[in-house]
């Protein structure tokens, strides 16, 4: 019985395909795979906006939205209707075609990456041989969309925001990719499905997730930080710093196009979180061997929601970084650390299994982490800030 519940979506797809004439089956098969994803993740986006506003409100000691429906859960409906009925303003000097194409490219690229993410056992749209590469390749298109939006608006604020966003995304894409290289080395495959299958076995009750190794934990933390920066979220939200350049590259967008940018940003965050889950947290695999009766997609979405909550928590906790801090952190700390981490994964692979390799790789990572952070701090001294208030 758990088997059937686990595979219920796959089975119902095959059952529905049985009613379709053979000539149309490839088309319908693709549709039946794609449409649920196109529905599920925007729905998750709607849920997340409420969760985020309520959670931030709780952390900042105020009420979140509480006027629409019980506990404000109908807020996304209100937001959606509002953005649909608002006037679509295009600046007169804007480059009209590029201005129109930018949000479309952003949302398209954000949706495309879901093709390789395994949502459950046997539940992936396209099991590509080079799936991880596809994810990063399509993800890099987002940068172009950001540039198009910022440049075509012909506004100083949006151009500044676009430049900041692109500089940040390029800098943090490197540690993001290098952090996932360790998993590719360990799994010996670029296919997301193969990577999850490698992690879906157990020793006793403990799973074989890559996060439970020294290099995996380091890679996971680097990946998570870089993912936060890639999705322009706090503390890396310089490109859209509300207090300086208002909304950054999409300041000149209104109505539904603004909502599309919002959607694209959250879809990007979900996608990188899902990739972190796939690479390090075992994808749809259960955390203990005695919990495998719970369906795989439930585990996937539980992990995804947990990571989203972590992102909201970070946003409610940390202040924004300065531009030079951001760049120094990316190039002088994250990049060397992820390179050392790759070396550590290699050492781990060639040493015999046992306590010794745990010790060696942990020591390598910890020592390099400490020395890199000391190097980052060199030439600066920190002291308690004193404030002088007007008498």
């Amino acid at each position: 019985m758990p088997e059937i519940i686990d595979q219920i979506f796959v089975l119902s797809k095959h059952w529905l395909l049985g009613y379709v004439p053979a000539g149309l089956q490839p088309v319908f098969s693709a549709l039946l795979s794609v449409v649920p994803v196109l529905i599920a993740f925007p729905l998750l986006f709607a849920i997340t906006t409420v969760l985020e506003r309520k959670g931030l409100g709780r952390m900042q000691n105020r009420y979140g939205p509480n006027r629409t429906g019980p506990f404000g859960i109908l807020q996304p409906m209100a937001d959606g209707i509002k953005s649909l009925t608002k006037e679509d303003i295009i600046p007169r000097t804007a480059d009209h075609l590029v201005h129109l194409l930018a949000p479309l490219l952003l949302v398209t690229a954000s949706f495309l990456v879901y093709a390789v993410l395994p949502i459950g056992r046997n539940m992936v749209i396209a099991n590509l041989n080079a799936g991880v590469l596809f994810f990063f390749a399509v993800g890099s298109m987002v940068e172009l969309a950001v540039f198009m939006a910022g440049w075509s608006s012909r506004s100083k604020y949006s151009l500044l925001g676009a430049m900041r966003a692109i500089a940040q995304m390029i800098s943090y894409e490197m540690p993001l990719v290098l952090a996932s290289v360790v998993v590719i080395m360990a799994a010996g495959s670029l296919s997301t499905v193969a990577i999850v299958n490698m992690q879906a076995s157990y020793t006793g009750i403990w799973p074989h997730w890559y996060v439970f190794t020294p290099w995996g934990l380091t890679g996971f933390v680097i990946f998570l930080i870089a993912a936060t920066a890639e999705s322009n979220r706090c503390p890396f939200d310089l490109p859209e710093g509300e207090s300086e350049i208002i909304a950054g590259y999409y300041i000149e967008y209104s109505g539904f196009k603004f909502a599309l940018f919002f959607l694209g940003e959250y879809l990007g965050m979900f996608a990188t979180s899902a990739m972190a889950i796939t690479l390090f947290l075992g994808g749809w695999a259960a955390p203990f061997s005695f919990l495998t009766w719970i369906p795989s997609y439930v585990w996937f979405f539980t992990k995804l929601l947990t990571l989203i909550l972590v992102f909201i928590w970070i946003r409610g906790t940390l202040p924004r970084l300065r531009m030079d801090q951001l760049m120094n952190f990316a190039w002088k700390f994250m990049l060397p650390l992820s390179l050392i981490n790759i070396f550590g994964a290699g050492v781990w692979h060639y040493m015999p299994a046992g306590l010794l390799r745990w010790l060696v790789v942990t020591l390598l990572v910890v020592v390099s982490c400490i020395s890199l952070s000391r190097g980052l701090r060199r030439g600066k001294w920190f002291h308690v800030r004193t404030y002088r208030f007007a008498a």
């Binding site: 590029v98 041989n129 080079a130 390749a137 940068e143 172009l144 430049m163 692109i166």
Partner: protein, 166 residues
């Protein structure tokens, strides 16, 4: 000659042609990006997943971004006036025609000698990795050295000479 090949070829040619003929520099870069994506799609159609995705990652993710960044940093992206005389265009067209003729001759005479190979997309990434690490280690290392030298050179150029390294 399937429909998808014709479509992708049309997109690639249209993109690159627009990159040469548009007035606005940023539009040129965006059109060039379209052409490069079309090229990547053509690689994918041939079953070369790794090459196709790397093409997108490198050319769309890095080269196009670098180009637009350079444009944003250095000059205003206002439309430029067309310049160049008709004789210049004529000689350009002549050279393009000759190059096309040579390439077409090479391609059409070369096809008969090649055997049609069966594709092995299942192991292609693996094969590329093995080839890079066994047969082509030296070229790989040389390229790595060259890129490192270029990186250091760029760093030296960008360095503020009056105040030394920052």
């Amino acid at each position: 000659m399937t429909i998808s090949f014709l479509l992708l070829a049309a997109i690639t040619i249209a993109g690159t042609a627009a990159a040469m003929s548009l007035r606005n520099l940023v539009h040129c870069v965006l059109a060039l990006t379209l052409g490069l994506v079309g090229l990547a799609a053509l690689y994918l159609q041939l079953g070369a997943q790794f090459v196709g995705f790397t093409q997108i990652l490198v050319y769309v993710g890095a080269v196009a971004i670098l180009a637009v960044f350079a444009i944003m940093m250095t000059r205003s992206a206002e439309p430029t006036e067309p310049h160049g005389s008709s004789s210049f265009q004529l000689s350009g067209a002549l050279i393009a025609g000759i190059v096309f003729a040579v390439l077409a001759w090479a391609v059409s005479s070369g096809t008969k000698a090649l055997q049609v190979q069966t594709l092995q997309p299942e192991a292609s990434v693996n094969q590329i990795g093995v080839a890079l690490m066994h047969g082509f280690v030296l070229p790989l290392e040389v390229i790595g050295l060259l890129l490192t030298a270029a990186l250091i050179g760029a760093g030296v150029l960008a360095m503020d000479e009056t105040r030394g390294a920052r």
